[in-house]
């Protein structure tokens, strides 16, 4: 293509002047000055409003890979399903069985989302999944995000609440390494506390590290294995859904 071979020195760089009719101008500069995430924020806001209007509460669940999202969600859903109509959507980079695990363990409606290898899910993808899933008959939609502490934090999905899991084996200094994720969540759950005795994990240090980044976050501790803390978590979620 001609344009590819265009030499820089052939160009006349004229700043865009209002009403200018400069015939020699070849390259025009369009100022954008906008965050790449801006459009996603707009779409997320629209989705949140749409869900609220339908009376559906969406909860976005994030963590590192393997922090116990699927296990904790099964335990949570089993505690809430008597009181709420729940649906679970699981995002996975490659085929995985998280959604069918949840469906089997809890009997609620579930959907597996394949996002084609991207490192996160954005508002537009979430909207498409929600439309395919059908949420009119639900009170609570739980979105299990991709196991990743970087990208999901940057992309508002349109959820009403963001929860993240920090599992004990990951260490109490995780908040220092992934500050954005710990800043954007309203609920931070320290998971797998049945393993505390085997790891050098201080609940005080972890709490202080989280508080420094996010003074308003609710911090809870659970073990999905022993059930410790699960009722408190279920109460918290119930309160948020009921508004």
């Amino acid at each position: 293509m001609t344009e590819c071979n265009m030499r820089r020195d052939e160009r006349v760089e004229t700043p865009v002047a209002e009403g200018s009719t400069n015939e020699t101008r070849k390259v025009r500069v369009i100022e954008v000055k906008e965050s790449v995430f801006h459009q996603n924020d707009v779409e997320a806001e629209a989705l949140r409003a749409e869900l609220s209007q339908k009376g559906v509460f969406m909860m976005n669940v994030m963590s590192s890979p393997g922090s116990g999202k699927t296990t904790a969600l099964c335990a949570l859903v089993n505690r809430l399903k008597e009181h709420l109509r729940i649906g679970v959507m699981d995002v996975d980079i490659e085929t995985s069985l998280d959604a069918s695990c949840v469906a089997e363990a809890t009997g609620v409606k579930s959907l597996q989302i394949h996002n084609g290898g991207l490192c996160h899910i954005d508002a537009e993808m979430t909207k498409r999944a929600i439309d395919a899933f059908g949420v009119e008959d639900l009170d609570l939609v739980i979105l299990e995000n991709i196991g990743n502490l970087v990208c999901p934090a940057e992309f508002d999905t349109g959820s009403h609440m963001s929860m993240m899991l920090l599992s004990v084996p990951e260490g109490d200094d995780k908040p220092l390494k992934y500050p954005l994720m710990f800043s954007v969540c309203d609920l931070i759950v320290i998971s797998k506390i049945d393993t505390l005795e085997f790891f050098d994990f201080s609940l005080e240090k972890a709490t202080a590290n989280i508080r420094a980044l996010n003074p308003n976050a609710t911090i809870l501790t659970i073990s999905a294995k022993t059930g410790e803390g699960m009722d408190v978590l279920a109460d918290y979620v119930m309160k948020r859904v009921k508004g």
Binding site: E3, M6, I30, K33, S35, V36, F37, N40, C151
Partner: protein, 125 residues
């Protein structure tokens, strides 16, 4: 990979701006990327070169990157310092009550566009 994901967002935004402005071709895209935004510039360039091939309106567009240095503010002594390599602990007073004031950006600053095929303009002169 993170860089590929963000490349698609940039392309989507630029394509929309280019179409809204009735441009012929996008010549270059300038990004402002914060020093601690976690994006690797070389990988972004590689993803860019690969991804724009599928977009006729910008299939030759150059990606220009301006880095915004990361700066941290200390609430304790009210001074600022360079986040890299210092980190969260204030070098002036040792406090950890600090927060990032800039360096996390990922903005499209501007795009340069051609309104007509280049050859046509040259032959007119």
């Amino acid at each position: 990979m993170h860089e590929l994901g963000v490349t698609f967002y940039v392309i989507k935004d630029v394509k929309k701006i280019a179409e809204d402005n009735n441009v012929y071709k996008v010549d270059s895209v300038t990004l402002e990327i914060g020093q601690v935004s976690g994006v690797i510039h070389e990988q972004l360039q590689d993803c860019w070169k690969w991804a724009i091939k599928k977009e006729p309106i910008m299939d030759c567009a150059k990606l220009l990157i301006e880095e915004i240095p990361a700066v941290t503010f200390c609430e304790n002594c009210k001074k600022t310092y360079a986040t890299v390599p210092q980190g969260k602990i204030c070098p002036h007073c040792g406090s950890d009550r600090t927060y990032l004031t800039q360096g996390n950006e990922f903005n499209i600053k501007e795009i340069e566009v051609l309104d007509q095929p280049h050859e046509v303009i040259l032959s007119e002169e």
